[in-house]
Amino acid sequence: MWIERKALAQEIPAAAALETRQLSELLASLGFPVDGIASREGGDVLDVDITANRGDAMSHRGMAREVAARLRQSLTPIAMPTLAEGKPVVEVRLESPACPIYSTAVLELGPGTTPADIQSFLLALEATPKRLPAVDASNELLHRHGHPTHAFDADRIRGAVSVRWAKAGETLVTLDGVERKLVEQDLVIADEAGPIALAGVMGGDGTKVTEATTRVLLESAWFDPKPVKAAARRHSLHTDASHRFGRGADPHMAVVARNLLVGRLQAWCQATLVGAWTAGTAPAGAAPVPLTGTLLARIAGEPLSLADAAEALRWLGCAADLDGGTLQITPPSWRHDLAIPEDLAEEVLRLRGYEHIPSALPSLEGPPEPLAPAYLQRQRLARRLAQLGFHQTVTYGFISPEVDAAFAAPGNGAEGRTLVNSLGQEYSVMRGSLLPSLQATANQNLRQGAREVRLFELAPVYGSGPAGPVEQFMLGVAWGGTLGGEDHLSPARAVREADLSGIARDLGWEGLPPLRALGEGLFGFEVPVESLPREGARIIPAFRPFSRFPLVERDLSLLVDLGQSHEALTVAMRAVLPKDTLQDLRCVDVFRHKSLPEGRQAWLMRMRFQADRTLVGEEVDGWVAAALAAAESLGARLRA
């Protein structure tokens, strides 16, 4: 919201002594940060950020109240004509509790237009003056005092005016020229021909003030914030009026704003008052809120005097009575946000300055809770993969239905995971797999010149369950491109599936991981994090004895069928070897060549034996012979 410095100083003269920068810092320290400063119409204007709970601050007067309370200086009294209210010129019926007061007047407009200084004020706030005094005065009042008012062309109103809920099927062409289809939850101002304004939001086009208007009917009411906010959202009609009524206006300003409006029209265009009257009464004020010294001290972090607190709150317009050890605070009619003792404590701290809050660490009352094993497991997995050369990715949780369908597990349809209001088709389904994102990211990296791409992601994927999406943390890994070839010791070769299964094994995955080809020379797998082993809680594992005697290594070069399973062969060999002595059995080389018999390949099987004694050559020979016999039982032959 723009605040013009000169206009602010008219409300709080003490502000004139502040430099613009000082004023900005003062406002920020009160909770109204200044987002920008501009020079317009011969003066500085400040773009002040107003929080959603402070509708009362959305005006020069409101901002001046804050400055006055901090500086402990008086505001300029509001100057307005005293109007004698009389018999209604136009009957006003209040048919909904959402509008308890409606203050109004009818005036005959005379010659004259909006004064130059008012036009300049409006221009400084980026509000274009219309040079129609009734319209400009209403607008100027809104910015200066924060209370929205409206002027109707009185001669275009048919019969009595009522404030009521819209009827099904009614429509209203608003001032922006758009025809609005009204619903029964819309509060409207209506004459006997139908709605003439959306209450608290925008007037109707049919009764608007034009250059031809000679008589105006003024509206200065108070509307319940809820229907105003709902209507503004429903019709996407966010106006200066709806922002203020929606955040809670001051019901006692209804009559004051009407009087100010009449005064301006009388001064600017010699308007003649035909009649002024008010329907209904302002709603009762809020009940007093108690504030104890104990609560104030707890929140403030140190004991504060209740007398000082009362004085601060009085500067904000509150009535403060000390009742025993408790302050009874009655908030002013413009403050709807002071409902509980904590609100009052905040005001005391705010006016005192948050910089005076002391600083202390809270004491630890119980033993700290350990980090959850699942969380630690993900952290360790991430660090392990990074150590293995993989880059952690973070990608969006939603993808397109087509891509999702290509990767999601069978039976995991997208229906239960689809967003109703996505940013677009490509972001409309909560993903059922991490692999599409890894594939896209890997390809993007390869396209951009990466020789090799190693990626992983740890994130939830979603299943369609009857009660909604079911989340499961997954680890997805992708590896592709060219390995090596960048130094004199590492020949270049394409990434193979086996590379990735080695990674899965390193992470503790038992057996073959569910590898998937994600493209030419690009492979991936994903597994539930919970299926991977968790590290034990011990920092140092239990001692496992090891032999200090020599280790004996023997190789068997075997010719085996191309279809031979390595696992089956090792199971057969292990079965005949002494478990306590065999330290390792693995295939260390695979040789396939036309020089070998057709349909056969050569495996170099390496065995390592060790015991708590020196092994004798003959006994090792016996084990090797037994292992060979076991291999031969599967069709393997010793390679010549």
Partner: protein
């Protein structure tokens, strides 16, 4: 003597020196030797045949010429052999020698994602103060995301223009902040709060808001929230804790500044600024010349949030804070475009997320 020899032998003898020098290894020298002085198919054999078939009176002179020629060839071959053997020996000694100026093989380097790295760092910072980590689902109920946090029924955040809802489950949404974790945790620990003497935890995680993707907005981003509930907790504890944590994060000389603000789930509420860690509060592009950078929102937990969880706000109080991880990462790294964090270019990840 040339008149006694056939033309091809004369020519072979003429090119012998070039043929000899063209032998760059011992194998090729052996082949040349075969041609010139070997027994079969060689020039020597031709010469022997010539000698056998020569008239008696020429034999003596021809024999002498042939011997001289063969001696010349053999000497040449021997000399070249010595040369090549020496070269081979020298090469072998070079091959054994390691050249320390050759580029070494570099192990593959991976990286944690910078956003995860920053969240891990925050957890590390708060651990010594007794904070643990709580997590919750990304698909949440309206009750956990809004109602339990004192967010009014008509709050704009509830609108489908700001929040993603599930088509088949209208009561479910993608959480708009990590604060539902507060609600879930408070509901869970409420019955045992007295026994455990309060609770303090961080809630890091991904959240979703319906923002178009641009250099400063993303429909998915990360937050870290912190919450502490105990006896007699006030603003001084919030200030003290944040001062400790932000100094651990940004350096020991970091100053913090609290400014009043409003969030429905805290009262009093505040924005927290730190003295600009990039320019030492001297004023720069990041702090827009002010020396201060807004870093997080915080406040004392609103009594309604405690009441919703079944915790008596007259006995217990606490504070909470929440910060945007991307925003802080961008500020600290001066990354100009938020989208870089989600594009996952390995060059960016490597530069930003190397292991400590």
């Amino acid at each position: 003597m040339d008149q006694l020899l056939p033309v091809e032998i004369v020519e072979a003898g003429r090119v012998f020196p070039q043929a000899l020098s063209a032998c760059v290894d011992l194998d090729s020298l052996l082949r040349l030797k075969g041609v010139y002085v070997g027994r079969e198919g060689s020039h020597a054999a031709v010469l022997m045949d010539l000698l056998k078939g020569a008239p008696k009176e020429q034999k003596r002179e021809l024999g002498a010429a042939i011997n001289a020629l063969k001696q010349q060839w053999e000497e040449g071959l021997k000399a070249r052999q010595l040369e090549l053997e020496a070269a081979k020996k020298q090469l072998a000694s070079l091959a054994d020698r390691w050249d320390p100026t050759l580029p070494p093989p570099v192990p593959a380097r991976g990286a944690l994602h910078p956003l995860n790295r920053l969240m891990d760092r925050l957890v590390d910072v708060f651990r010594p103060l007794g904070f643990h980590v709580e997590e919750g689902p990304e698909v949440e109920t309206e009750a956990h995301n809004f109602d339990g946090l004192n967010i009014p029924e008509d709050h704009p955040a509830k609108a489908s223009s700001d929040t993603f809802y599930l088509a088949a489950h209208p009561e479910l949404l993608l959480r708009t902040h990590t604060s539902p974790v507060q609600v879930r945790t408070l509901l869970r620990v409420a019955p045992e709060l007295a026994a455990r003497g309060g609770i303090r935890f961080l809630a890091p995680g991904r959240v979703y808001r319906k923002d178009e993707i641009d250099p400063t907005h993303s429909p998915m981003f990360h937050q870290v929230e912190g919450m502490l509930v105990g006896h007699g907790i006030g603003m001084q504890h919030l200030k003290g804790t944040l001062e400790y944590a932000l100094r651990a994060l940004f350096g020991p000389h970091t100053e913090i500044r609290l400014r009043p603000s409003y969030f429905p789930f805290v009262e009093p509420g505040c924005e927290v600024d730190v003295s600009c860690p990039l320019c030492g509060a001297q004023g720069c592009r990041v702090c827009k010349g002010s020396g201060w950078v807004e870093i997080l929102g915080a406040g004392l937990i609103h009594p309604n949030v405690l009441k919703y969880a079944g915790i008596d706000p007259t006995e217990w109080s606490g504070w909470a804070f929440g910060m945007g991880v991307e925003r802080m990462a961008m500020m600290l790294s001066q990354t100009p475009d938020l989208r870089l964090f989600f594009e996952n270019d390995q060059r960016f990840l490597r530069a930003m997320g190397g292991l400590d």
